[in-house]
């Protein structure tokens, strides 16, 4: 596309008004506008402060367990018989997913801003658990909004959050899933403007969230780049990551966006298939619209009413996607594919059996496409798949689907 040819860099966005091309922006109620301007200023200050980075790095090392390994999946590679597949093991982080990378950054920022009450939305519960964890660590009050449907299907995480001292508010409005949890968190923020910090879990929402969350998650790609250079003496040839809102994916992708030799694949959740209408693939099955503070690709009807997403993975069950992904899709820099529920379940079992690693259902979507792409590549092709979460939380729902409970 022409945009790609005229751009010098894919890594300079967003512009000062929070836009990635035509996507992003700040579509919020006036009550919140001064708050997100304050947040932007506080984040800009923190970003320029070495003490902030030093504190975050120290928590990465001693609390999260970073850097996460870049693991050569030897048996999976043999099984596929194509590209050499590496897994970036963010599922080994404290709390079991990449979510903690972003949460620690935002909570340290909230402390700098003097905020004492943290709110968050969560779908699968991984972001909620990470937020509850960081709040426990710093003695902050934590309120997590979670769709009533998700509270039911992610019980282990609900219990974990309660153990960590968070208050869980089941959201019964709308479709009772992640998008409604986000609406309710925004309503809370509008009503508690003085003391409250909204810790958004994905690279979406009004500016500066998509940029800030991406920056905090970019530790994944920075590490992966160094690790691959050390292991193989060169950059990877391809990257694969799953996408709901897209924070793990943008975290892996961003440090490689200006390396044209690196092919980049994002994998959306196709649910029962994009053609079925029951899916969460905003790029492959949606169109641009405005929701939750930003313009991006959304699932909706002809009247602009937001549709309910469907995915076996609660973490991908969102009818939108981060605005930077929308832009990377339109510019053609990243290729966005999709994986159905049943393909994800197969990949879930494949990785468990071949590598002794039970992935979360979210990265199982990435594994499914990675295996397919790797099979078409030569043996010297280096691929990194982001293993952004572990599957402990999913074993009960997977057992239900596979009939393994008896």
């Amino acid at each position: 596309m022409t945009i790609q040819q005229t751009l010098n860099s894919f890594r300079t966005g967003p512009d000062e008004t929070g836009h990635f091309g035509n996507f992003g922006g700040r579509f919020v109620a006036e009550t919140l506008m001064p708050l997100i301007l304050d947040l932007e200023k506080a984040y800009t200050d923190a970003k320029a402060d070495p003490a902030f980075h030093a504190e975050l790095a120290s928590f990465h090392t001693h609390y999260v367990g970073r850097p996460s390994p870049l693991y050569f999946a030897e048996r999976l590679t043999e099984h596929v018989g194509g590209a050499k597949i590496y897994l970036k093991r963010d599922e080994l982080n404290h709390t079991g997913a990449h979510k903690i990378n972003n949460v620690l950054g935002q909570i340290l920022l909230a402390r700098r801003m003097g905020k004492t009450r943290i709110i968050a939305e969560t779908g699968a519960g991984q972001h909620g658990v990470a937020t509850a964890t960081a709040c426990a660590r710093f003695g902050l009050k934590c309120v997590v909004y979670m769709g009533a449907v998700d509270v039911e299907r992610q019980k282990p995480n609900v219990f974990r959050m309660r153990m960590l001292g968070a208050e869980i508010v089941p959201v019964v409005s709308g479709s009772k899933t992640l998008k409604d949890a986000m609406n309710e968190a925004l309503r809370d923020w509008v009503s508690n403007v003085e003391d409250t910090f909204y810790c958004i879990g994905t690279s979406a929402g009004p500016h500066p969230y998509p940029m800030m969350v991406r920056d905090f998650q970019s530790i994944i790609g920075k590490e992966a780049r160094e690790q691959m250079l050390e292991r193989e003496g060169r950059l990877p040839d391809s990257l694969v990551a799953c996408i709901g809102g897209g924070s793990n994916a943008i975290g892996l992708f961003h440090p490689f966006l200006d390396d044209p030799s690196v092919q980049i694949y994002g994998v959306e959740a196709a649910g029962h298939g994009v053609a079925s209408g029951a899916h969460a693939a905003s790029l492959n099955g949606g169109r641009p619209g405005v929701l939750h503070g930003n313009r991006t690709y959304l699932l909706m009807d002809a009247d602009g009413q937001i549709a309910e997403a469907h995915s076996i993975s609660a973490g991908l069950d969102y009818p939108g996607i981060g605005p930077e992904h929308a832009w990377l899709h339109d510019t053609g820099r990243v290729t966005y594919l999709s994986t159905t529920d049943s393909e994800a379940l197969e990949a879930f079992q494949l990785l468990s059996k071949l590598e002794g690693i039970i992935p979360a259902l979210e990265p199982a979507h990435a594994i499914a496409r990675a295996v397919e792409i790797a099979a078409t590549k030569p043996k010297d092709h280096l691929m990194i798949v982001n293993l952004c979460g572990r599957g402990d939380k999913d074993i009960f729902s997977v057992a239900e689907h596979l009939g393994g409970m008896e």
């Binding site: 008004t17 922006g25 700040r26 579509f27 919020v28 109620a29 006036e30 009550t31 919140l32 506008m33 001064p34 708050l35 409005s173 709308g174 998008k179 409604d180 609406n183 925004l186 309503r187 509008v190 009503s191 508690n192 403007v193 619209g289 405005v290 929701l291 939750h292 503070g293 313009r295 959304l298 909706m300 002809a302 009247d303 602009g304 009413q305 937001i306």
Partner: protein
């Protein structure tokens, strides 16, 4: 250019009283009943009418207006049928200002230019679009002003002195002061603080200032009317619609009259305050 909104506020100023602005949801509980309600509002004492454009994800609204929007959507209301609603209202009323209120996505999907043209043709006078702050004025605000519609802005307790001029730029018709930092239908505001805020806004603009969020009764309305040029009532009316419905959520013989009765009561509160 003088609009129906300008004319109405000027007339009420001459009369020495504040305006009663009533909010109801288009298509709630069904299209025909909502048209009946809207047609009955001026006679009941409404000076301006805000019509909610239903949206699945109304992030600044409380439970009452969220539920009203979902009732309307379940009944098949769309942005196209909402514009038709106003066209039908204009058949019998060419004076009462009509303002559409809602969220940007349905307008964006309709197509901004087409929407503005259709809205103007149908007799719509102004827009309040909650998720279009001044930072996004190029999206809808400026095109709306160019199309001859009023673009009414929300000012809130978080809009400080420094930001106020930005909020008041590119705006017309009136300024909608949100009485609380919160969602629609929430707590009753502190009337003293509201009066101070309205006075502060008035030092920055010649536009009328209407106050909404949390106004539930005639006495709330009267308290607000002392300092403001208009009082907005929304969730209380929407709740009245809800209470009038039968067990299946359908309109009953009482639906329209229950709403007009409450509007009359609140209008009396507003009109009792002479200025």
């Amino acid at each position: 250019m003088t609009t129906r909104i300008d004319t109405r506020f000027a007339a009420l100023k001459a009369e020495g009283r504040a305006a009663l602005v009533t909010f109801v949801m288009a298509g709630d509980p069904d299209h025909a009943t909502s048209l009946e309600i809207i047609k009955a509002l001026p006679k009941a004492g409404a000076d301006l009418i805000e019509i909610g454009m239903p949206f699945t994800d109304p992030m600044a609204d409380g439970p009452a207006i969220q539920a009203a929007g979902l009732r309307a959507l379940a009944g098949g209301e769309t942005l196209h049928s909402t514009i038709d609603l106003v066209r039908a209202f204009r058949d019998g009323d060419t004076d009462t200002p009509i303002i559409l209120m809602g969220y940007f996505n349905p307008i964006y999907i309709y197509g901004v230019e087409t929407f503005l043209k259709d809205a103007k043709d149908a007799g719509i006078d102004g827009l309040i679009v909650v998720d279009c702050p001044p930072e996004e004025d190029d999206e809808l605000c400026k095109p709306a002003l160019n199309a001859g519609l009023n673009f009414i802005r929300l000012a809130t307790p978080t809009t400080d002195e420094k930001r106020l001029p930005k909020v008041l730029s590119n705006t017309s018709g009136f300024v909608y002061y949100v009485s609380i930092a919160g969602i629609t239908g929430a707590a009753t505001p502190d009337f003293g603080k509201v009066a101070t805020a309205v006075a502060r806004i008035k030092t920055h603009t010649h536009l009328p200032v209407a106050v909404g969020f949390g106004v539930k009764t005639a006495s709330d309305a009267a308290a607000i009317a002392k300092g403001a040029d208009g009082v907005v009532v929304g969730s209380a009316l929407v709740n009245t619609v809800l209470k009038s419905l039968d067990a299946d959520g359908k309109a009953t013989a009482k639906t329209v009259s229950a709403v007009t009765a409450l509007v009359s009561e609140i209008a009396a509160g507003v009109r009792a305050v002479k200025k």
